[in-house]
């Protein structure tokens, strides 16, 4: 067919949101579009947003699942605030997302789903496609379902299966619109449906039909191109935070030469780490799905006692349950990595939404004086390096370490410049194999003078048989002790141990070198804070940004950094937990800025807030 020539426009960035019913395959569609975009060399940031229910009632607002992808010809820091394009697979998806679109956004709707019944389900009395309410947008009505079914006619596919392929029609159409390379998607479909060749054919056909429709239809007159971004040379892959964290843990097993033991209980949004690690037994990794959160950390601690790198992965409710065992690990002074992929609380809260409200629990949530190390990754790919850093601290200092990820970095994705394995830190440890006192006895609590770490003497080592436990121990010997002076000494030593951990200084980004306002963040807010700072600087305002990876102990230079600015602003997805720490510890009048909506900050929100602080003090 002779297609009318389409105009091609160059864009520097686009934000697309795919939205549909939970069962419509929007996450998969977004993932594939992201992968195609990565192949092309754009910088990318993604944000999935889905309900906790596996299949909420079809066509309802609570059932809407979406995937947002931001891609550009320059480096970007967030998945984008307001989408330029919405793909709405039904009326619910339109209604749920409309208010967040940028003005004049393109909306591609699946008209087949705009039936009276579906419109009524979400409270539309008239169809928004006909009543003029979408006049501020560029609406492209497409009969996605029926065209998909039509394209598959003759393939001998059941109608239900044919309808399910409509997400591939949509993907084909969007891939055409944004000139994406699609070979990897076709290969993906071959892998995914390897056991059902008829579905490989159906989905490929639907994809091609969508692509061809774009080329021929008059509904779409423009095709877009976004040039590759200038990125550091090297090999990349697109990665989510949970995947990166799991691979980071594999890397710790390799670089420490220790067997890794993961004890975990399924919990959203951390389960994917368990799934991923369970595939990598060849690295000497054992994964145990325990009977509960307490057993999960208990088994990890037992393995650590036996000389493994013990890890447990969970979310906030799980950390609450693990508290007593974390205290035991602190008393035993054994290495242990506890990963908390934070979600909105309290209680069950909103399991698929993000929050940073477990900082207090990580720092203080145990009985007694029970200090430990706390670190947080700043982006999806940074989860890889954060896992290595958590293991470094745990192994070097024989302490539990809490790694605070959150749903935003865990499920979001970005291109990851693959590290060179040989340049990853060496995490090798030496077990104690000989008595450590002059009289030939073994003293399990005799410390290394520098790290204050005690010896790690594992069962199976002849001559070093010893008993450890949760009861207070005498200095050096580890015998049970109720001596008041000894307890005072041990409590203070456990605190000193954590303070003695060497962590890098915090860097300050202040390109104008004359900023008076510092914005301080931690964890997943790095992207939106960075994007907001950039926007302000482009408008001629000056602002400094510092971001904490280490929450306990804090970097040694932090006090000095804070003191060199007139104003310190701390945006957090909680009610000011880091701000409390900073105010208490450094007597700095830090200004908290808080959002607890279950969603990440948008760059625009932070830009507006920071602009006000910079201009008005």
């Amino acid at each position: 067919m002779a297609a009318p020539a389409k105009r091609v426009e160059q864009l520097d960035r686009v934000v697309i949101r795919f939205a549909g019913d939970s069962g419509d395959g929007m996450q998969l569609t977004g993932d594939r579009f992201t992968s195609e975009t990565a192949q092309l060399g754009n910088d990318i940031s993604t944000l999935p947003n889905f309900p906790a229910e596996i299949r909420a009632p079809a066509g309802t607002l609570p059932g809407v699942s979406s995937f947002q992808v931001h891609f550009a010809d320059y480096d970007i820091l967030t998945p984008g605030d307001a989408p330029n394009v919405l793909v709405a697979m039904n009326p619910a998806a339109l209604k749920a997302n409309l208010s967040e679109l940028s003005s004049g956004a393109d909306i591609i709707v699946n008209t087949d789903e705009f039936t009276k019944r579906n419109l009524a389900k979400v409270g539309y009395t008239t169809s928004p496609l006909d009543d003029g309410s979408l006049s501020g947008y560029s609406v492209h009505p497409v009969a996605l379902t029926s065209m998909t079914v039509g394209a598959l006619d003759g393939l001998g596919i059941a109608k239900k299966d044919a309808e399910r392929a409509k997400n591939m029609f949509a993907l084909g159409l969007l891939s055409w619109m944004y000139s994406r390379p699609f070979e990897s998607t076709l290969r993906f479909l071959e892998r995914k449906f390897a056991k059902r060749p008829e579905l490989v054919e159906a989905n490929k056909t639907a994809f091609r039909a969508g692509w061809n429709y774009g080329e021929t239809t008059e509904v779409l007159s423009v095709r877009y191109e976004i040039k590759p971004a200038k990125m550091q040379p090297g090999t990349y892959r697109n990665i989510t935070g949970n995947q990166a964290l799991a691979l980071g843990l594999v890397a710790t097993a390799v670089r420490s030469r220790l067997p890794l033991f993961l004890g975990a209980y399924p919990i959203t949004p951390a389960s994917d780490i368990l799934h991923e690690l369970s595939k990598h037994k060849r690295f000497g990794i054992t994964t145990m799905q325990a009977e509960d959160e307490i057993a999960a950390i208990g088994a990890a601690l037992g393995a650590a006692y036996g000389g493994a790198l013990g890890v447990t992965t969970t979310s906030g409710p799980g950390v609450a349950l693990k508290g007593e065992t974390i205290s035991l690990a602190i008393a035993l002074e054994l290495p242990l990595v506890i990963v908390d992929v934070q979600r909105a609380g309290p209680s069950t809260g909103m399991p698929t939404k993000t929050e940073q409200a477990d900082l207090n629990m990580a720092l203080y949530g145990r009985h007694g004086e029970a200090p430990l190390a706390v670190i947080a990754p700043k982006s999806p790919s940074d989860c890889f390096h954060a896992a290595l850093e958590a293991a470094r601290i745990a192994l070097t200092y024989r302490t539990p370490v809490i790694l605070l990820s959150d749903n935003y970095v865990a499920n979001g994705s970005e291109p990851w410049l693959l590290p060179s394995v040989d340049e990853l830190p060496d995490l090798s440890v030496e077990f104690t194999t000989a008595p450590n006192s002059d009289d030939g006895k073994f003293l399990p609590y005799l410390r290394d003078p520098e790290t204050l770490a005690r010896p790690w003497a594992i069962p199976g080592t002849p001559g070093l048989e010893h008993r450890i436990g949760g009861l207070e121990k005498a200095d050096k010997t580890g015998d049970i002790s109720y001596d008041p002076a000894n307890h005072e000494f041990m409590v203070r030593t456990r605190a000193a141990r954590i303070e003695a951990i060497q962590v890098p200084d915090v860097d300050v980004e202040d390109p104008d070198e004359n900023a008076r306002v510092l914005v301080l963040g931690w964890g997943s807010t790095y992207g939106p804070i960075g994007a907001a700072c950039r926007a302000l600087r482009q408008r001629g305002l000056t602002i400094a940004q510092a971001h904490l990876r280490h929450l306990a102990p804090l970097p040694a230079n932090l006090g000095e950094v804070l003191a060199s600015y007139d104003k310190v602003v701390i945006p957090e997805m909680n009610l000011g937990q880091l701000a409390h720490v900073i105010r208490a510890r450094y007597l700095v009048d830090a200004v908290p800025f808080n959002q607890v909506s279950g969603l990440p900050f948008t760059a625009a929100t932070l830009e507006n807030m920071l602009e006000d602080v910079v201009k008005n003090g």
Binding site: G41, M288, G298, G307, G310, G470
Partner: protein, 341 residues
Amino acid sequence: MASPTQIPVQLTMKDFKSDQEVRWCPGCGDYAILAAVQSFMPELGIPRENIVFVSGIGCSSRFPYYMNTYGMHSIHGRAPAIATGLSASRPDLSVWVVTGDGDALSIGGNHLIHALRRNVNLKILLFNNRIYGLTKGQYSPTSELGKITKSTPAGSADSPFNPLSLALGAEATFVARTIDSDRKHLQSVLRAAAAHEGSAFVEIYQNCNIFNDGAFDLIKDPDSRDQHLIRLEQGRPITFGSDDQFSVVHPEGSFGLKVQEGGTPIVHDAGVDDPAYAFALSRLSGSDLNTTPIGVFRDVRRPSYDEIVRKQLVDAQAGSSGTPEEMLNGLLNSGDTWTIL
């Protein structure tokens, strides 16, 4: 098959005594159990460094401090979970869990049943004194219904667990019962438990002379025990009584076993695959101890958790090649990658 290293070493009871002062109440049944375990250990022929005792919280859980092996006194109820991680990652070790009726059956009930169903390679010694001792005398999950204690002045309203029935319900592959004061019997049970691959669950009736003194006198006192204590012996008809006048029989048409005078006793076989047999035996005794079997109720073979986990690791490692660094490099570079020059 994963099994503890069996190197013949000449050790004595003294080698298993730690330098710590034993601090149970004078007259506590725990002393007898400790002495029985310490004098039994050399028989195993396992080097001390390959033996680990893990405990929870309670009087019995002080046990590891007194054993000159590796040991961990952990937290309330969690010993089976901690020991699972240790055992699954260190098949070369002989791992023993020491627990009590409150520790194992109340706060740690979940971990106990899951360790048993997984058949983790653990020897679990449950010291049952039917009372909370360390917290000074509250009723426990094995205390009799109506028991008057500090926390139940009007009598306990809770029906007790039968620990062996519970363990059998949790798919335990080895279940036994013995008594603190009968060292010979206790050691025979330990011997059988140590030889078992997988979880071995041993209930030890233990007297708390402070808060529940005499709880097991009916089956300890020479004047009464023969009328109430049923000694299970592999391959032998189950009879008891001062003149062996009582038999354990399987009445026709009945699901369970019962005790009667005379009749044809059943012949004990701990290897019967159907757990219903051991369960029926466990139901002979209740709170009143009137007819109480001791010995090995069940001893069957099923792959242990440790074996299965180990096999998966070994298989995965056999199917891979290259140094760990090369393998990691391959893993990082898998999936859809792209290169920027």
